[in-house]
Symmetry: C2
Amino acid sequence: MAAPLRIGIAGYGNLGRGVAAAVRKAPDMELAGIFTRRSPDQITPPAPGVPVLPWDQLLEHRDRIDVLMLCGGSKADLPEHGPALAAHFTTVDSFDTHAKISEYFAAVDAPARAGGNTAIISVGWDPGMFSVNRLLGEALLPDGATYTFWGKGLSQGHSDAVRGVPGVAGGVQYTVPSAEAIEAVRSGRRPELSTRQKHTREVYAVLEDGADDAAVERAIVTMPHYFAEYDTTVHFISAEELTRDHGAMPHGGFVIRSGSTGSGSSQVVEYRLDLGSNPEFTASVLVAYARAAARLNAQGDVGAKTVFDVPPGLLSPKPADQLRAELL
Amino acid sequence: MAAPLRIGIAGYGNLGRGVAAAVRKAPDMELAGIFTRRSPDQITPPAPGVPVLPWDQLLEHRDRIDVLMLCGGSKADLPEHGPALAAHFTTVDSFDTHAKISEYFAAVDAPARAGGNTAIISVGWDPGMFSVNRLLGEALLPDGATYTFWGKGLSQGHSDAVRGVPGVAGGVQYTVPSAEAIEAVRSGRRPELSTRQKHTREVYAVLEDGADDAAVERAIVTMPHYFAEYDTTVHFISAEELTRDHGAMPHGGFVIRSGSTGSGSSQVVEYRLDLGSNPEFTASVLVAYARAAARLNAQGDVGAKTVFDVPPGLLSPKPADQLRAELL
C-alpha cells in the first residue's frame, strides 16, 4: 500500500467543507490541513487532529501537501490564488466563469510549469463532467446536436439577484428544466429551442415589512439577463418557511446528444445528474481529480490541465489491471 | 490542416460497414482500404474509389494505413487477429468477451510494444462508454452502488440461442429493462435487485412447418443461462413479420451510480443510451478512438490500452484550446 495522498484545503466555505467530507470517504487520502483567511480558532475541524491554519502559513507546509484544493470563489479568489499557488503546489480548482476559462488556463499554466506542478482547473460538474459529456457527444456523433439543461436546482447567482431587489428580506431561486423540452430532445427530432422553452425559474422570496408585493414581483420578473427572458413564478413565503424548506442545495441537469449515423439511424446519448447537494458533489469530483493531478505530476506531466486531459483510469484508487478485470 | 488520418478496415460485416459510414462523417479521416477474407469482388465499396482488397494483402499496405480497425467477432476472430495485427499496425477493436479481457489485453500488449504500435482494445459501448461510466461513478461517489441495465435492445447471443431451438425457423430476442427497477434505482434507495427483477426477455420466433408451439416455447423459456433466470415472453410470428418488423438492431441501456456524500445527501448519476443501430453506434465509438490511438502513438505511448487510458480530448478533431473555449 502506497502512502496516503496528503490533501490540503485552501478556503473553507461550502466547497471546502465538501472536500473535507469527500477526502474522508477516499481510501487512499488524508487531510493534511485546512488554510483559512478567517481566524483559525473560529473554525471547527472536520475531524479531530486536522490542523486549521492561517492562510499565510501555506508555503511553510509545502512539503507536507501533495495536492492543494483551491476552494475559493471564481469571481474574486481564484484569479489571484490559482496562478499564485500553482507556482508552489500541484492544485485542483473549480473555476467556473465559462467565458474566462481560456484566460485563466494561460494564467495558471506558466507558473505551474515553472514550478514543476500540475494544476487541473475548472473541475466539478459544469464545467467538469458536463463538459466531458459535451465533448464525448460531438466526438462520437459528429452529425448531431448537443443540449444542456440545468436543474431542478438552486442557482446561487439568481438567488443573489432576488435578494438584491428592494423590499426583499430573503429568498432563493430554482432553475427548472422543461420536461416537454427534454422529451422533445430525447425523441431524436433535434428541436430548435428558445431560452424560454428550455427552462423556467421559480422564486421563493420573503418580503420586508411594508414592502409592496406586486412591485417586488414586477421588479423580479422583468430583471434583464436574469429573469426577463424566462417564465418566472414568484412565491412569497415567511422567513420561517424559507429556513425550513429551502436550506438544501440540490441541483443537477442533463447533457443530451442527439445524432444520426450511416443509414440515418437515430442515436441519443444522455448524461444526467440528480444531486442532493451541489457543493458536496462538486467537492467529490474535485477529490477524484486530486488523485489524477498527483499521478500526472508523478509522470512529469506539468502545467495547467482540464478534465479533457485526464484519462478516466487516473481518477480511481484501483490499479489499471483491477479496473480492466472489474469494470470494463 | 494536417493530412487526413488513413483508416483501414479489417473485416466487413455489420461493424465494418458502420466504421466505413462513421469515417465518412469524420472531418479529419479517409478510408484507405477494406480488407476481407471473402472474395473482394463480392463486396460493394462504401464509396467510389475505396479499395476492397484480399486479407492476405494487409501487410503490403502497412505504410498506407495509420490505424487499422479490427471488425471481426470476439469469439473466433479477434483472439487471433488482435495480437497478430497489433504487431504491425496501430489498431482499435471491440473485443467484448468481458471475462477474457485481461487475457486478451496481455496477448495484444506484447506484440504492440514490440512493433511500436498502440492497440486500443474493447472499445464500443459495453465494454466502452458504459465501462467509463462505471469507473467514473465509483471514483466520484465511493460510497454508493452501480447498476447497469441493458435494452430495450436486440441481443445477438440470445437471438442465436432462440434460432438453435429445434422447430424454430427464425427469430429475434429483445432484452427489456424493468421500468420499475430503474425508477427504484433513480430514487437513490439503492435497492437489491435480482436478475429477474432487472430485465425481462421478449422473443419473436417463426415456427418450422409442423413444429409444436408449446414444446418450442417450453424449450426457450427453460433454457439455462439464457432464459431460465428471467421472465420470458414468446410471440410466434410469420416469416414475413420477422423480416418486416424486426430487421433493425436497436439497443441501449443505462449505467446508474447512486451514492451519498458527507452529510448523507443522495447523489444520482445516470448515463443512458438510446440507439437506433447498435453496430453503427459501436462503429462511431471505434472511429473516435482511432483518432486517439493515432495521437497516443505519435506521443510514443505504445502497447495495449483501454478506454480507461484515453483522455477525452484525444477523441475530438478539435485542438485543445478550441475545446476549452467552446465546450468546457
